[in-house]
Symmetry: C2
Subunit: 454 residues, 2 copies
């Protein structure tokens, strides 16, 4: 075959260490603050929620953190993931640019989320934790954690936003199949849930409420911890296995990207593919442009402000230095549920503040159009979140072609769309709509903030 489409690594190529970009950042991320005292939180504040090893990883400034053998062994269920040269997409676009993508949808849960679910379950198991509690919106994170907990024989309890619980039953059954208990949230099982139901017995739920329920269960049970699928430093670090593999694969392909692109929800997907390349940027090596892509309906990176804010809607978590739309901002019901988050992780926010990464915002119809084009050209039907990366790739190739230049572009295809086909049907039947966010909406959400400015 003249063209090599897929760049494959061996099991021995699974990275031995996660990359911690904090070590190379010119300005370190500011510390999270205790919501009561407004002082930096210490390990003791986090101990009720997380095992000590993850707390250490959250604050470490070591550049490399060793991946335990048992984690690498379980990574090998689906890692290394393939990297593809997107010949089909290049042809469909008629571009002179070269496009590569890393494909994380080969994991059993169908996305990149198990990259952090496995080590999180591992460290919990190692510290004798019997149960982990979490929330999930559309179900990607809940599936990943259920899968990981099953492998470590840890009980897993998931609070799933009620509207998704009812609308995406297959995601719920997937978690059940891996042995997890799934509750529609708000539930009668927690004070948080009961207080919501008392006000509105028909509440459809929200990620913020589900977080409150999961945190409450973990905080009030000695043998139960809490787990988060994005935003936090250790979560982003776990995801760097994606980019570390991609570096090797780029080397095998004899190429190096000019631009690295990923969708952006809380930051873990973007961090996973981009940070290992940014390492070269930050240490005097080859330079890439790293572009985070958010939905226009939830534009914290492109239209938010940089200040301290809560990680959840209800306001139970530490205050995080982040680009935010305000923790009361309620994103429109776009199909990319994984991108409907009001804020951004501390590391990514600092990098954006310092001009070391870029951000763009795209409407969902443009994204689904890109997803349809991609599925016909490359075969894989992407998750709605992943289509944001593809749409940005198309924007970049068009710009390069207009300028008469060729760019080498790498993006992270973070998951398949097998559980999201209802949204494709909406697009195909012409029923998909875009949502505009007015500046008044953003201003009014931000005006409610009483959290510290930076």
């Amino acid at each position: 075959m003249a063209q090599q489409r897929k760049i494959v690594l061996q099991e021995s190529d699974i990275p031995t260490h996660w990359y911690n970009i904090v070590a190379d950042m010119p300005n370190k991320p500011l510390p999270p603050l205790h919501p009561g005292t407004k002082q930096p939180v210490g390990p003791a504040d986090l101990a009720p929620l997380f095992p000590m090893e993850l707390i250490k990883q959250e604050v470490t400034t070591n550049k490399w953190v060793e991946i335990p053998d048992e984690v690498r062994n379980l990574y090998s269920i689906w890692r290394p993931t393939p990297m593809f040269r997107a010949y089909g997409l290049e042809k469909a676009l008629g571009t002179r640019s070269k496009i590569y993508y890393k494909y994380e949808g080969v994991s059993p849960a169908g996305s990149h989320k198990p990259n952090t679910a496995i080590p999180q379950a591992y460290y919990n198991a190692k510290e004798g934790i019997k149960k982990i509690c979490t929330e999930t919106g559309a179900g990607q994170w809940g599936s990943a954690l259920s899968f990981a907990c099953k492998l470590f024989d840890i009980e897993c309890e998931v609070f799933m936003v009620k509207v998704s619980y009812e609308g995406k039953p297959y995601r719920k059954i997937m978690m059940n199949t891996w042995g997890a208990t799934v509750h529609p949230s708000p539930s009668n099982l927690t004070n948080a849930g009961r207080s919501i139901l008392a006000k509105d017995p028909n509440s459809p739920g929200s990620l913020g409420i589900a977080i409150s329920e999961a945190v409450e269960v973990a905080a009030t049970h000695d043998d139960t911890k809490y787990s988060l699928g994005s935003v936090l430093n250790h979560v982003l670090m776990h995801q760097t296995v994606i980019g570390l593999e991609a570096l090797k694969q780029m080397e095998k392909a004899g190429d190096y990207p000019d631009i690295v692109i990923a969708p952006f929800g809380g930051g873990s997907n973007f961090a996973g593919i981009a940070f290992p390349f940014l390492q070269n940027n930050l240490t005097g090596g080859k330079k890439v442009r790293a572009i985070a892509v958010e939905p226009t309906s939830c534009p914290k990176l492109t239209r938010g402000v940089f200040r301290y804010d809560f990680g959840d809607t209800v306001g139970m978590t530490p205050l995080i230095p982040m680009y935010t739309l305000g923790h009361n901002f309620i994103p429109s019901p776009i199909h990319a549920g994984g991108l409907r988050y009001h804020g951004a992780g501390a590391i990514v926010s600092q990098l954006l503040k310092d001009g070391l990464i870029e951000a763009d915002a795209i409407n969902q119809t443009e994204c689904f159009e890109a997803g349809i084009l991609f599925s016909g050209a490359e075969g894989i039907i992407p998750a709605p979140e992943a289509t944001h990366g593809i749409a940005e790739v198309i924007r970049q190739t068009k710009q390069a072609d207009a300028e008469g230049v060729s760019k080498t572009i790498l993006f992270n295809l973070c998951g398949h769309g097998n559980f999201d086909l209802g949204s494709y049907e909406q697009y195909l039947s012409g029923k998909l709509v875009d949502y505009e966010v007015s500046q008044e909406d953003i201003n009014s959400s931000l005006a409610e903030l009483t959290t510290p400015t930076i």
Copy 2:
């Protein structure tokens, strides 16, 4: 890592030729017969339905058939597929046997079916065909052909059994996303469909009716051909890429199977993994036992007869020399829709007749139990069809352990269960039932046959 879980091949390891087991069979399969004349069918009889190159492949006795570069190039979207040493399953079973599995669920359509959909679309495109028509039950085959047709810019029309069309909407949308048109069958678009609807406007449809509709459309339109996803010789041959890769992977693992296992519907999955190993059996090399696993509710291999029968229920196709329960046999509504077929392909039937392969039948509750165990031990949630192979693996390990011996067992994990989670919910909630087939039912179905005996 002490244990290597995954045996990975490079894109250059994708086979260059398909293996045609007919060349090595001591007794060649008997020819298919024209349903009217009862004489062997010739190429001219098949020309309205298939492109000439596939007709040639259907009858060739050449041992190796070259895979066109364009097909290998598209295979590389998901091939080579990984082979796993099932350490997790071995541990869960506490067996002394070694278990390997080849995983075909990594294809964009989620099963092994694209292995033949791609070359079928390729040869049709090469002969200028603009449209392919097919039927699908649960949707695996229809998805695979939609995917393949999209890549070759061929129009694809799928008649989907109405009860599945209504019950598995995501499979339908998947086909739409790849540009295919999907009709619930019976439809008003064909004489066959209209005649069924005239008798029963609420007919839930059947695979037999859907085949009739697809064949009718192909037979009555010059630019349209028909395509089948199993049973036929060329389809089985295309699937041998699975076993040819597995041979290389076994060699890399420094091992060789004692037993090769696959689920059995029409034969393509089983042929795909087993034939390349049987080549050694048939040519004086190392010996494997090859076991085809069918559902007890559709037991053509273990309780059927070997005689000529129609490939479809309505009786429009050539007569095939097969193990059959009679073309009027209606299998119970088990969840493994891909195994609900009354007959077996000619090659596999001849091999079974000659004692060169074995068959076993398993109830679906035993299969789902195996699927749940597997998903917890290995991470992947298998398709209901695939669970039949896993259940047989468990049976074989138990027998070996009881005998105090260790066996090396390879099975084909033909697809993931992302679209079949409704059946897992039935199992988990205790609602899954088994179906017994009485000897009277089989006898009465066979008694209706007027087709030639052998």
